[in-house]
């Protein structure tokens, strides 16, 4: 078994520490991006929903500003965004290279996508349910946290999984500009040094991460659908 591994993945075995380190870096970037882009994205998603057409705080001006803002950031290809935000990253992190630095463009690239997903999930909530809650004297706070988010939970989990898988994808790309992680590993060793087994191993690890995310997500979607 061990000899088979050495035969199939010689470079992986010999540089095992590098592989586990890259995996940790990827987890680190995915985790922080998910947290930061998650919080910003869900806030924007809620704002878009409540200020949007038929929202509980409908406001055409605010909505169109938010809407355009999100659209503009989303229209920038991520690989370009990586380069574009370098000055900002320097200001925030102090450097533009490394895993921590990569979290800045990752968060900026992911949150508009997530905001839109959240908006799509929340506008699905039946307006009749909102109206019934309003008629019973609920505050806007109760409507957002007690009705929108509660009723939208399973749909929110679903779009969060879609986004998280997107984050894993983006992290691999961030590796291209020296962000570290499995993407970086695949490029610097697999591609540049023709160590193909490293590329394959990185791919397999990412595949497993996606599958695990999807499976856990599906479980919670089922749990929250009544």
């Amino acid at each position: 078994m061990h000899s088979l591994l050495i035969h199939l993945f010689p470079n992986v075995v010999s540089q095992w520490n590098l592989v586990t380190q890259s995996f940790t870096e990827t987890l680190f970037m995915v985790g922080w991006t998910a947290l930061i882009a998650g919080i910003i994205g869900i806030s924007f998603g809620i704002l878009l929903t409540i200020t949007g057409p038929k929202g509980i705080l409908e406001n055409t001006l605010v909505y169109s500003v938010l809407d355009k803002f999100i659209n503009i950031i989303r229209s920038v290809p991520f690989i370009i965004l990586l380069a574009l935000v370098v000055p900002l990253t320097r200001i925030i992190v102090g450097t533009s290279i490394g895993t921590i630095a990569a979290i800045v463009p990752l968060s900026i690239g992911v949150f508009p996508f997530y905001a839109r997903q959240v908006q799509n999930a929340l506008v699905e909530v039946d307006s009749g349910i909102i109206e019934a809650a309003q008629a019973s004297g609920s505050s806007n706070f109760d409507l957002i946290f007690g009705v929108y988010l509660k009723e939208g939970t399973s749909e929110l989990i679903r779009v969060s999984i879609v986004t998280l898988i997107g984050v894993i994808d983006f992290t691999a790309m961030a590796g291209a500009i020296g962000g570290g992680g499995l993407g970086n590993l695949a490029i610097s060793l697999g591609y540049d040094r023709f160590e193909n087994d490293i590329t394959i191993a990185a791919t397999l690890i990412i595949l497993v991460m996606v599958l695990v995310t999807q499976t856990i997500g599906d479980y919670f979607v089922r749990r929250t659908t009544h």
């Binding site: 039946d126 009749g128 019934a132 008629a135 019973s136 929250t224």
Partner: protein, 362 residues
Amino acid sequence: MIKNNLAVNLINIDVTFKQKNHVIKAVDDVTLKIEKGDIYGIVGYSGAGKSTLVRVINLLQAPSNGSVIVNDQNMLALHSNQLRYARKKIGMIFQHFNLMNARTVAGNVAFPLRKSNLTKKQINDKVDQLLALVGLTDKKLTYPSQLSGGQKQRVAIARALSNDPDILISDEATSALDPKTTKSILILLASLNQKLNLTIILITHEMQAVKQICNNAAVMENGRIVERNNIVNIFSQPEVKITQEFVATANQIDEAIDSVLAQPNIKHLKTNEVLIKLKYIGTVTDEPIIVGLYKQFEVTANILAGNVENLKDTPVGNLVIILSGQANNVKHALKFLEGLDVKVTILKIGNDIKSVIGGSKR
């Protein structure tokens, strides 16, 4: 402010919706006064403005014009917190129930009690009490998706009552239910009206529902109230065409007449016979009309169809009968009936009788 007996007092309400290139006047100068403890029906076809009008009561819809007084409170003068409190005293139920799918029955009923100063235990007791009131105690921990339409509406009613409102607005609450379930929900509403002295505003397009529980009703068309009256008058003497149409929908006698007219012996009515419909309100019912006709005029009356309904304890009867006898006697019999405050409609008339009565009757 002068205290009066009105639960709802809408004065000169307009609601206009501005669309891109035109303006919709959904409610057009409506004044509506509903007394405390009443069950008040609002009837009209789809698009008449019923929902828009009742949504003005709790200001889910702000009027473009007019004043909104609910329980002697000027709703338009309230701050948002006061308005939320006022809304808690106006329950509302809907055609599609609008229950939260992610919450259990108990969770739905308890939701309006959030932020009240009740303890968890008090809320739980209140939920139990409300579920008992609507007959759903055993469904407490069920999710709405597992309930039938009628059960969902009962949950919605319990939720609407959670803050002990004085008024319940029912917007087509039975329109998605089958006739039997509709009836049971209406019975529940009527009992709540009695038990809790709840003022109920019943929006519907089903005249049968109005007939079953309302005391008063208004008929809406194109954003206006075109007729309003107590139930007995609405059903016995509808004035406007649309009211007559609605009343006819809840009136089985018209269907009966259609089948009577199709019978062979009616198609070939004898020359000394006349087919009439009698409609009478109140105590006339108690007098033995048919017997009287024979005794006084030697006119036999053959009953083909009939029914008696109680509208708020006032009997309203319909009879379809054939009178036969000597032409002159029949003429006198008809006069006699009209003298009794019975509304006589001649449906079909034999030639002998026609010649005696002349062209005076249709």
